[in-house]
């Protein structure tokens, strides 16, 4: 069983003459435990593809399956629950809530989630080397620390699929490589799957598979 399967996904923006096709008949199958890299020139549609896979928006046409369940037609409410329970996000800017301290980011998830998280926040933060910063607000962390907290946050609750959008864009090359290394390690150790959009060739070296987007097509 494939973890996620895309069938002829099309995404169009605008209407009439202004209409542009961001994604053109994308077929893709993602197996469990893979670290997948998605690259391509800007405007090629790789972030759009990531947002559709992450159920942040629906496709114009085509089908999207998660664990053999079609999720392309879900309501926003159902998608919200799916993102909360099964997906993790590491975003370019930061996916942290600015008015919560590092440990409160995790407390918030605990309060909204019924079941106990399988892996403690302490363990995740310690593994990523930011446990000492747990009482700080995101703004007082360095870029690298913030991104590692964001990774810990995305991993919290052990989602099956983690989507990362340029997770290393705001980091220097040394930090960027460390982050990529950590992501690769996660897929090996826990069997979680990561889909990462990145420009950075060195970072992409850590991925198991690389797909290149060009003008809305996957090659």
């Amino acid at each position: 069983m494939a973890l996620m399967r895309l069938e002829k996904i099309v995404k169009k923006f605008g209407a009439g003459d202004q209409q542009t096709t961001a994604l053109d008949q994308i077929d893709l199958t993602i197996e469990k435990g893979q670290f997948i890299g998605l690259t391509g020139p800007s405007g090629s549609g790789k972030t759009t593809l990531l947002t559709i896979m992450g159920s942040l928006q629906g496709p114009t046409s085509g089908k999207l399956f998660f664990k053999d369940q079609e999720i392309s037609q879900l309501s926003e409410k159902q998608r919200s629950a799916l993102r909360f329970n099964d997906f993790g996000f590491i975003l370019q800017s930061s996916n942290l809530v600015p008015f919560l301290t590092v440990e409160e980011q995790f407390e918030l998830v605990d309060r909204l989630r019924e079941k106990q998280a399988p892996q403690s926040a302490e363990q995740l933060l310690t593994n990523l080397g930011v446990w000492d910063q747990r009482r700080q607000y995101p703004t007082s962390l360095s870029g690298g620390q913030r991104q590692r907290v964001a990774i810990a946050r995305a991993l919290y609750g052990q989602p099956d699929l983690i989507f990362a959008d340029e997770p290393t864009a705001s980091l220097d090359s040394k930090r960027a490589l460390q982050v990529a290394e950590q992501l690769a390690k996660i897929t090996k150790e826990t069997g979680q799957t990561i889909v990462m959009v990145s420009h950075d060739e060195r970072v992409l070296d850590y991925t198991d598979h690389q797909y290149v987007m060009r003008d809305g097509k996957l090659t």
């Binding site: 961001a22 549609g45 972030t47 759009t48 990531l50 947002t51 992450g54 942040l56 928006q57 409410k77 919200s80 629950a81 799916l82 993102r83 909360f84 329970n85 997906f87 996000f89 975003l91 370019q92 800017s93 930061s94 996916n95 942290l96 809530v97 600015p98 008015f99 919560l100 409160e104 407390e107 918030l108 309060r111 909204l112 607000y137 959008d165």
Partner: protein, 352 residues
């Protein structure tokens, strides 16, 4: 609620400003209410304590007690117990005494055996001619003091003192009907009165010369009373609406500022409902704290205000306005709901 509190704690200054604004408006509302109620009370307190049902006055008097004059001989018969109806004579007066500046008063001529008799703070009811009861709203008066009324030579002896008995904002001076008659008409014979006051089972058939007013009608027709109450009512009502707008605008600006943050939370799968809940809790917190401060300040104000300011707190009114204020605060926050629900999780990505 968790998000609501954490955010308020993190952005203390911003939320303090909102609380401060709510506080100022709440305080202003309480202050105006105290003044309005105090002033209204000064118009009617002497009438309120009768606990009567209605009055009969002249048809021509335009529902104004002071303008009414009834010929006692021409009054129709009254049905009902003797103790449930009483005669009232009333006129504006000036109190003077050696060593005292002249003061305005409202003079009531009553039968001290009837239910119109005031509640005494000190002293006793008049037993002899030229004994009177005055309200302590008159400055510099004391028991057994001799005063003059309306420039007459006659001196009256204060035997009883009331408190908070006012009509048309003037402290009331109570005379026996015979003394009133002699002062106004020069005869001990009671020939004319201003009104008949009825309570309980007392019934009267009015003629075309007479008109019957309920006590609330009578009060509403006290010159100046109606417009005054309406003016204060309008001011307070406008403030209650303004508070909704102020909170609404504040919360809306904060919401717009937080679009990216909300986007991130939406991307993580936190539902729009939870974000709206947080907003509602915040408005309740801000409202409760602001209103609480307003109440506190109002209580302090009551302590320091000079007695001359007609300021009376009515717990019922204050309670009701506090509740409305809180509701208006929440209504203000409701403006932002559609904005939050419109926030797309894609905002977190910053454009695809």
């Amino acid at each position: 609620m968790y998000l609501a509190i954490k955010e308020i704690k993190h952005a203390k200054l911003r939320y303090s400003l909102i609380i401060f604004t709510i506080f100022l408006i709440a305080y202003l509302i309480y202050f105006l209410t105290g003044l309005a109620y105090g002033l209204a009370n000064n118009n009617r307190s002497a009438i309120d304590q009768w606990h009567a049902k209605e009055v009969v006055i002249s048809q021509y008097a335009n529902k104004n007690l002071a303008a009414s004059e009834l010929d006692v001989d021409q009054l129709p018969s009254i049905k009902g117990a003797q103790k449930n109806h009483a005669q009232l004579a009333q006129m504006m007066g000036v109190v003077s005494s050696s060593g005292l500046s002249k003061q305005n008063t409202s003079v009531f001529g009553i039968d001290f055996d009837a239910f119109l008799k005031p509640k005494l703070q000190k002293g006793r009811y008049p037993k002899k001619a030229n004994e009177i009861v005055v309200d302590d709203g008159l400055q510099g008066i004391a028991l057994n003091q001799q005063i003059k009324l309306n420039g007459r030579q006659q001196k009256y002896k204060i035997v009883g003192i009331t408190t908070n008995h006012r009509y048309n904002t003037q402290p009331v001076t109570y005379l026996r009907l015979t003394d009133f008659s002699r002062m106004r008409y020069g005869t001990d014979q009671i020939t004319h009165i201003n009104a008949l006051v009825l309570k309980g089972n007392a019934r009267i058939k009015t003629t075309d010369q007479l008109t019957k007013l309920t006590i609330p009608e009578l009060i509403d027709k006290i010159p100046g009373y109606g417009p005054q109450v309406k003016t204060f009512g309008l001011m307070i009502g406008a403030l209650l609406v303004i508070v909704a707008f102020i909170v609404g605008i504040f919360m809306y600006i904060i919401t717009i500022e937080k679009t990216a943050v909300y986007g991130v939370m939406r991307a993580q799968g936190i539902s729009g409902g939870q974000l709206v809940g947080s907003l509602m809790w915040q408005s309740v917190f801000l409202g409760v704290i602001g209103i609480g401060l307003g109440l506190l300040c109002n209580a302090l104000t009551t302590l320091v205000l000079p007695a001359a300011v007609p300021y009376t707190n009515n717990p019922l009114l204050i309670g009701a306005f506090s509740a409305v204020l809180l509701v208006m605060t929440v209504i203000g926050a409701l403006f932002s709901i559609w904005r939050i629900l419109k926030i797309d999780p894609l905002d977190a990505i910053g454009g695809a």
